[in-house]
């Protein structure tokens, strides 16, 4: 609890930068794959009246991945959609307490979601579900537990920061 507040340059700061870089890279890869594939489908339909049989399913899986990666990034940036009507009217010390309470709650729910997603993926693996012809479905579904574990971690990791005094109020969410 008494650690000095100098995050950059030390090990956690490096991990933070690497994590952000990895998120950005994966988001860019998934999004541009999506754009390329979707555009190819339109062109193929326009030019030849046909399309790639597997592309529609692949596109839908890419949307899922983009959504979950985006959700991971959103919890790092702390910009998940929220209402936040009351907390700004609370006194500063109560604000910290309510922020911590709310983060703890979010971590709890994401934790349960991570566990249930894990069970979902395990079951799907047991049944040998397949996507895109013969690919194992669990590999594509595993983004769900991974995302919820990371989101849980993010809210837990933010807790000490929320409780520390002189913390600027979190922003009201995306415009």
């Amino acid at each position: 609890m008494s650690s000095a507040g100098l995050p950059p340059a030390d090990a956690p700061g490096r991990a933070e930068r690497f994590g952000r870089w990895l998120e950005n890279a994966l988001l860019a890869i998934v999004l541009f794959l999506m754009i390329g594939l979707a555009a190819a489908q339109v062109l193929l339909r326009g030019a030849f009246g046909g399309s790639l049989a597997w592309a529609d399913e692949a596109l839908r899986l890419l949307v899922l991945w983009a959504a979950m990666l985006g959700a991971i990034a959103a919890s790092r940036d702390n910009v998940h959609l929220r209402i936040d009507l009351l907390s700004r009217f609370l006194p500063a010390s109560w604000q910290r307490l309510s922020a911590a309470l709310v983060d703890l709650f979010a971590a709890g729910v994401s934790g349960v979601l991570a566990w249930q997603s894990w069970r979902f993926v395990a079951e799907s693996r047991e049944y040998g579900d397949q996507v895109l012809g013969t690919w194992p479905a669990w590999a594509f579904q595993s983004i769900l537990p991974v995302a919820f574990i990371l989101i849980t971690y993010r809210y837990l990791a933010g807790l000490p920061r929320q409780l520390r005094p002189r913390h600027a109020a979190p922003g009201p969410g995306p415009a």
Binding site: E23, N24, L27, A28, L31, M34, I35, A38, A39, Q41, V42, R45, L59, R60, L61, V63, L64, A66, A67, M68, L69, G70, A71, I72, A73, A74, S75, V79, H80, L81, R82, I83, D84, L85, L86, S87, S98, A99, L101, V102, F105, A106, V109, S110, V112, L113, Q116, S117, R119, F120, V121, E123, F140, Q141, L144, P170, P172, G173, P174, A175
Partner: protein
């Protein structure tokens, strides 16, 4: 049950992320009725089984790229050249450009920042009053959500399982009505100041057209493609992204490649937030249907409200309130599944209901004291929020009149809808 709901509401107003609130509701509900909790991730995986969702990341990304470029400035210049010579022309330029820009970029806050900032000084310079200008720019920022390829209409279509093409067609009349109402108000308020912005000049029109020649085909291809039915919505989205990337990155070169990572991240963070809530709410909606929540709501509402008219009036008030508290996407996801069956009970057409939802929530953005656009405008133009509220008030009244018309004249929305 009631205690749990109260705790969840309290956590929500204290600022808990909405996905956690909805997720907790779904998990608790399922565990209470002894359903295996993997039902929730299975529903979230449903994101990968809904083809139309592809349009959301594509349009969002295209909108972000567009708002990073100088497209807004070119659009303002072109419309000023085309209709600026009319009396009151510049105010109409504001209404028209804001609508088009919002339809393509989705978030109405972006419109105030990108276009409002260009129009505000121009309007003041052309002799419009400061308060009028402030009100006009703030309220125009939420116009346009009724036109293709508006994301809120797409999301409503997904949740309500209504044809999105029909929604786009249905939005045209009401969208134009809201634009005309604002434009007419501008003309009337400035009947003393009829000095046109500038004389009509072919040279300026030619220059403005030449400047934006690469962007002009975009609305024509996209809107034409969607409204004619040649493109499915997600195909139009794919074309839009490719087009916008080529034009802004390769031809105009206004968006540096180095900015691209940040744009990808910002847009996908929003998409992730929306789709996560959508996925989780698929689960909570399923639970609510199992628990017959809509039926109970119908019983409750029909006990007190007998006529369609009073139901619709109440609905509008409720939606305006929700629209200013919640982001429009979360509001749609939360409210549509509950309201759809109730509205059907009163004989409201689901396509018409979608138009009512989006038109009313557009207004919610402006509602004092917490409408989001009031704060964005106050921040952007460095005016106290109270002043923005007062300046926007007459515009809110006009738009409220338009919403009433849209609500009580279904033909306005439904006349061209065939399906």
């Amino acid at each position: 049950m009631i205690l749990t709901s109260l705790v969840l509401v309290l956590l929500a107003v204290l600022g808990a992320p909405l996905f956690a609130i909805i997720g907790a509701g779904a998990l608790l509900g399922f565990s209470r009725s002894d359903v295996d909790l993997t039902a929730v991730p299975i529903e979230i995986f449903g994101i990968a089984e809904t083809p139309i969702l592809l349009a959301i990341p594509l349009f969002t990304f295209a909108g972000y790229v567009l708002s990073e470029s100088r497209a807004a400035a070119r659009l303002v210049r072109l419309s000023a050249a085309l209709i600026g010579w009319l009396p009151g022309g510049l105010a109409m330029v504001a209404v028209a450009t804001c609508s088009l820009f919002t339809a393509f970029t989705g978030g109405s806050g972006v419109t105030i920042i990108a276009i409002g900032a260009l129009l505000y000084p121009a309007l003041i310079q052309a002799g419009y009053g400061e308060r009028f200008t402030l009100g006009l720019v703030t309220s125009s920022g939420s116009l346009g959500l009724l036109f293709a390829p508006s994301l809120p209409l797409i999301i409503y279509g997904i949740i309500a399982e209504v044809s999105i093409d029909s929604l786009f067609v249905a939005g045209i009349g009401p969208g134009i009505l809201m634009m005309l109402a604002l434009a007419a108000f501008c003309l009337w308020r400035n009947r003393e100041n009829r000095r046109p912005l500038a004389d009509f000049s072919w040279r300026e029109v030619r220059a403005a057209v030449r400047e934006s020649i690469w962007e002009l085909p975009l609305p024509i291809v996209v809107l034409g493609g969607i409204y004619s039915g040649y493109f499915a919505v997600s195909e139009a989205a794919a074309m839009t992204v490719v087009y916008v990337l080529v034009v802004e990155l390769l031809i105009y070169r206004e968006v540096p490649w180095t900015r691209l990572t940040a744009i990808v991240r910002d847009s996908m963070v929003l998409v992730g937030g929306i789709l996560l809530i959508l996925g989780i709410s698929l689960a909570s909606t399923n639970y609510m249907i199992d628990a017959q929540v809509p039926q109970k709501l119908i019983e409750l509402v029909t006990r007190y409200i007998s006529s369609q008219t009073s139901f619709l009036l109440l609905l509008i008030c409720f939606l305006m309130l929700i629209g200013c508290i919640l982001h429009i996407f979360s509001a749609l996801v939360l409210v549509v599944p509950l309201m759809l069956p109730v509205a059907a009970q009163y004989g409201v057409n689901p396509v018409h209901l979608g138009i009512i939802f989006v038109a009313t929530m557009e207004l919610g953005y402006l509602l004092p004291p917490i409408g989001l656009n009031l704060y964005i405008s106050s921040y952007r133009f460095k005016k106290p929020v109270l002043e923005v509220c007062l300046a926007t008030l007459p515009f809110i009244l006009i738009l409220f009149g338009a919403v009433l018309l849209i609500t009580f004249v279904p033909a306005l929305s439904l006349m061209f809808v065939t399906k």
